[in-house]
Symmetry: C2
């Protein structure tokens, strides 16, 4: 179950402050996400799911077992690999709804891009080219669609994101789920199917090794992870989402910057001859996702990307030190690529030609499983991330 | 957008009674589903989605255009076709939750099968073999998973349905969406990816012709369509879900019979040499789904399957005549196959060997687009179903 939430030992351990005290620090669990409760289900589901892989043999195919626990599920279907995923946007719609009430504007074109990014940015980590996206738009009632400006923004943003990623929008579902989804709200998700072709493009990490370079790709802001925390913070700000986080930039506006879509970069890298050994989409757990690979390596980062104003603001307001901030939020790096050292600079050039700032930010070394972020004096050990 | 809801002219036209009058008839719109509001969005989304198909050429592939408007989206990826879909369960969880409160039992193993059936039964209509299912379990909060019996039933039922259909459970999402999904509720969906191999197995209807036989496969009950109506009826029954619909069978219990999974039948039919020309999953719009094929044919049904007690009960209590009942509910036929006349009896035998009762129930004829259900004296004209 690649995306089933994982335990979050760091933030549970480090904070006991109440989230009602206005100047208290605010951890992810205090913002309402309880990994301890979801986890036993996740383990049971992972075991049950793994046991079903045997069925593929009956069709003449086989699971790529290394994809269990990774960001997308991969099946060897003969001439190429098939990759698939379903991803939820999460609570970012609540920020869009709050900002609509404050500004009168619809942010659903951005929200559509966020939703597609959740699926596509995960799918490409395994080396897949995304081909088809399906829309899952579950509204609290038919009346959600009566706001034509909002509904049209959702459609236009969805299409634009598909165009940007060169995927076909296959179809979808627009159920009206009164009694399940709250009135006036919408639960957005996307499924995505792609292929890994040629098969050697698979980047599940077998080739990751000492000496590989870590290339970080810029994020556009918070993307779609950390929003529970961000919303909780808004509640205790006197001006809420209208608080300035940079000159002329409101908190809500900044939160709603759409998630960067990374598939144009991964496609361009392949076309340019870059061999990605492994990739991590930096979502929940922030930079701890750099520890995602199951192997035993030390990741040493010497260059830290500039921090988007909205993330610096959240870290400051939540009272996070660098460990908690980088262990929770993307802090300016939305995606990590692990490539041969001699290809790192070329990878940076290719990404920037796609409009995505990038940094040859560090290296993979022999050593205990650990992430060392040198400029910050921060270290995350092996137990900082448990996704499997 | 295969599954975006379509207008429902029959039931809007035929009822003006208030749903508060306890003996009044009850149409689908009165039960809270308003197709008129969703529809303009559906049209805009369909157009935007269709325009994205061009991107597949950039990857060396092409959409199978006839799959637009069908139950799953199909892409020609060279050696075979790729089919994909995302499907929502809908409001059947509300019946499970109500019955849990009344009986103390968890029905989530059944609900899991329903959710997978929504995706798989649609995917197989195009001739695809389902390979991978992804789970989308969006709860109103982490506490949904604290009911271990319920969570374990969901996992066990999901696995059992995957085993029955011989698909791999690839992974999924279990977001906790407080503020979006109602507290104590869960929004369930499944995505499914499959392949059409060999390509001539594609059953998008090019081969449908006069003289083909209509084979109907038995449903297990209401499946997962018509639940808004069924729930509304429960509200006006003095004993609600505990009303007997047959000796020893409660209404709620009967509603929760899990949806029949049809992929074992479609796989067995192919293995037995049956050439399915077209297939329709009988879900929303009931038997009007027999008019799904875009061509101009008359469908004459001479044999009507036995009606499950729960559907006879709903039709009676809602005051539906045969036209409204068969135009809304599956009435005992959950899936329709259109096969060469000389293969009809063999198809019935193969289906029954899979444990699914089946009937060679009618024939495709030259004539205006129309469904004639002879034993009932019911006719549905071309305008009874508008899905494209």
């Amino acid at each position: 179950m690649p995306r089933m939430p994982a335990p979050d030992p760091l933030s549970t351990a480090s904070h006991a402050a109440s989230n009602t005290a206005s100047n208290a620090t605010l951890s992810y669990e205090q913002a309402g996400v309880r990994y301890d409760v979801i986890d036993p289900l996740k383990v049971a589901a992972q075991r049950a799911a793994a046991a079903t892989a045997q069925h593929l043999a009956g069709h003449g195919f086989a699971e790529v077992a290394a994809s269990r626990g990774e960001s997308a599920y991969v099946v060897d279907v003969g001439p190429f690999h098939l990759a698939s995923i379903v991803e939820c946007l999460g609570s970012k719609v609540l920020v869009a709804d709050a900002m609509k009430a404050l500004t009168g504007r619809s942010y659903y074109a951005c929200i559509a891009q966020d939703t597609i990014a959740m699926a596509i940015n995960d799918l490409v980590t395994v080396g897949a080219t995304p081909l088809v996206v399906q829309a899952y738009w579950a509204a609290g009632g038919s009346e959600w669609f009566e706001d034509r400006e909002r509904a049209e923004a959702l459609v236009a943003g969805w299409r634009a994101a598909c165009d940007h990623c060169r995927v076909a929008w296959g179809g979808g579902e627009t159920p009206a789920l009164a009694g399940i989804v709250e009135s006036g709200r919408i639960d957005l998700a996307a499924s995505c199917t792609g292929i890994v072709q040629p098969k050697e493009r698979l980047s599940l990490g077998e080739r990751l090794g000492h000496g590989d370079a870590i290339v970080l790709l810029a994020s556009s802001g918070i993307h779609a992870n950390g929003l529970s925390l961000a919303r909780k913070l808004a509640e205790r700000l006197p001006r809420g989402y209208l608080t300035e986080v940079a000159p002329g930039l409101d908190y809500g506006e900044a939160l709603l910057a759409p998630t960067t879509l990374y598939s144009p970069v991964t496609e361009a890298l392949w076309a340019a001859g870059i061999r990605v050994h492994y990739a991590a989409n930096i979502t929940g757990h922030g930079w701890r996702k750099l520890l995602r690979h199951p192997g035993r390596f030390t990741y040493r980062v010497h260059t830290v990307p500039p921090v988007p104003p909205v993330l610096a603001f959240i870290a400051r307001e939540a009272g996070h030190d660098a460990t908690e901030a980088y262990g929770t939020l993307n802090m300016g790096a939305g995606f990590a690529l692990f490539v041969p050292a001699e290809q790192a600079e070329k990878a940076v050039t290719v990404a920037e030609r796609c409009g995505v700032p990038a940094w040859a930010a560090g290296a993979v070394e022999a050593g205990p499983k650990r992430l060392i972020v040198e400029p910050l004096g921060v270290t995350f050990d092996a137990d900082a991330l448990s996704l499997r």
